[in-house]
């Protein structure tokens, strides 16, 4: 399998461990990643707030880059997935399409709507398949109870994202089961991490993050895992503030999606960049008998 790799901004800078883990897992599963130094930021939902058509146009440009190479596009971030999908979907409105294309044409870019935008979670569960993943597991995450945390833009609006249920998805839990972990069922798994208002009203954002972590914890989660590096920032890098907001210690290790898969397929914690997390992952690793960092 060969895909245009769209890492997004965070995985190229402060979330490099996500990029490391993605490359490791894709190598192990024979997914060839083709890189394009011309991909821009997806706008992260903030450009959409400021200027909808601009957001659609910059993402149509990204899609056109993959299209020229004849490749579908792999995302590793729920928000990138949402914004790039939106560019595909909203173009169905002829008025929107005309405005976007009018901005792209003078710079010689034409997008013909042929690129499928797929998040790594979907590629793993649908294209690679759970059986194939199960057969490659070298270190089942047995005994590890993991709360999947989806990230809003991967799922919703469900009629536009065109994949899982917006409120009752199961792909991530299916994948966790395939790598030997025990998925935890909790309401917060499909809720917001607070990230979009981290800069607007930090206390409220932290309360939201804290509640989702508490929810996972009260349902017995030893760790959480997310397919979105922005959720990872809220849940891991800002977990100290979430603790303050909910007034109790949380101590919840937060994994990126390809990190939990990588652990099961035999990667070392070093190869997955686990030492870069702010909340130590050792307590979770100890449960699956992984070597310490």
């Amino acid at each position: 399998m060969k895909l245009a790799y769209y890492p997004g901004c965070v995985a190229q800078e402060s979330g490099r461990e996500l990029d490391m883990a993605t490359r490791w897992v894709c190598r192990a599963l024979e997914i060839e990643l083709v890189e394009f130094p011309s991909f821009s930021c997806c706008g992260s939902g903030f450009v959409d707030e400021a200027n909808e058509v601009l957001n659609l146009a910059i993402n149509s440009r990204n899609l056109a880059i993959a299209e020229r190479a004849g490749l579908d596009l792999l995302t590793i971030c729920s928000t990138c997935q949402g914004m790039l999908t939106l560019a595909n979907v909203r173009r169905r409105d002829p008025a929107v399409r005309a405005r976007v294309d009018a901005a792209l044409k003078p710079i010689g870019i034409e997008y013909r709507d042929s690129v499928h935008v797929k998040h790594l979670l979907r590629v793993l569960t649908e294209d690679v398949g759970l059986d194939a993943i199960r057969s490659r597991v070298r270190r089942p995450l047995a005994g590890l109870r993991v709360g999947a945390f989806y990230g809003c833009h991967l799922l919703r609006p469900a009629d536009e994202m065109g994949w899982e249920s917006g409120e009752e998805p199961h792909a991530f839990e299916d994948l966790l089961g395939a790598i030997g972990a025990t998925p935890v069922d909790y309401r917060g798994r499909v809720l917001c991490c607070g990230f979009p208002i981290q800069f607007v009203k930090p206390d409220t954002a932290s309360r939201i993050a804290g509640r989702q972590i508490l929810d996972a914890k009260s349902h017995g989660a030893h760790a959480m895992a997310t397919p979105c590096p922005l959720c990872h920032i809220s849940l891991d890098a800002y977990q100290n503030q979430a603790e303050r907001a909910v007034q109790q210690p949380l101590d919840m290790p937060i994994f990126h999606l390809p990190q939990v898969v990588g652990l099961a397929l035999g990667a070392t914690p070093e190869e997955l960049g686990l030492a870069r997390h702010l909340v130590p992952t050792e307590p979770a690793l100890a449960r699956i008998g992984s070597s310490s960092l």
């Binding site: 130094p37 400021a50 870069r276």
Partner: protein, 324 residues
Amino acid sequence: MPADAISAKFDVRRWDAVAGGAPRYQRYELELAPHTPILSALLRIRDEVDPSLTLRYSCRSAICGSCAMQINSKSRLACETQVGPEMDRHGRIVVEPMRNQPVLRDLVVDQSPFWTQYDRIEPHLKLDPAHPMPEGRPTSMTPEQVERFKETPRCIACAACYSACPAVEADAAFPGPMALAKLYRFVVDPRDHATQDRLVRIQPNGLWLCLRCHLCTEACPKDVRPSERIRDLKEMAIAVQGGTERGSRHAIGFKENIEDRGLLSEAKLVRQTYGAAGMIGQLPQGLRIWRKKPEVLHKPRRIEGADELDRIYEALDRESEGAP
């Protein structure tokens, strides 16, 4: 009993604000056709099994908006949610009152918080005194003008969106999806004279607290798509007032930030939103993160074809400046 009847298990949250005590979940089991609406099942329980079960309903046809409640954690109208799919997915049907409003008894909530937020947006036309509506004649609107608010009048004020909203849950200041969707309806109404004032006043502790999680759009039984109308309001608010709020500054800052090199510069974004002085408050957290992730201070590389991005901005971002 229909041939395809299933044994439906209901776990209904029971609680009475007057009696107090701890809430409990009561199990009821009924043989039902899979297509039975959950409201019909609850009414059968009330009529045939337990007359003390309290719920609110009226039309049974998804018109009145009275029977919104949580069904297996989703905010839904009970009259248009069927028993079969819920049993298939969950093996039981957990029925709870709506969230974000105080419970009075069982499935009935006090909707005051929801209506207070609705009042806050002043949900009536504010006309230009110099151009009152023509007496006895309809005011004409073009099809294009009507098209702009084709969705919002469908709202039946069921409060399912308010119940589903995690921003409301975390911050009582947030007006909630329905109030903001209604506000949009007046902002784009060509007869309304208070557009600018409405857009200015809704921003502090209001508009920018939306998480754009789209849970309201999933919950809405009438496809009003509140989260998308809230996005529209944000863009219009920026057009009217620029970056006067942290939320609008952040959106504008992000837009300008990536125009520069094509990728996000994280440290620069903090400065754009908080200003140089405000950054001091962010220092301790920034240092904590920097120790593990020194790249937060990196300037990203400049993408190939960054000039293309410039041209796209030139074509689309200049034209949007100005009044909505």
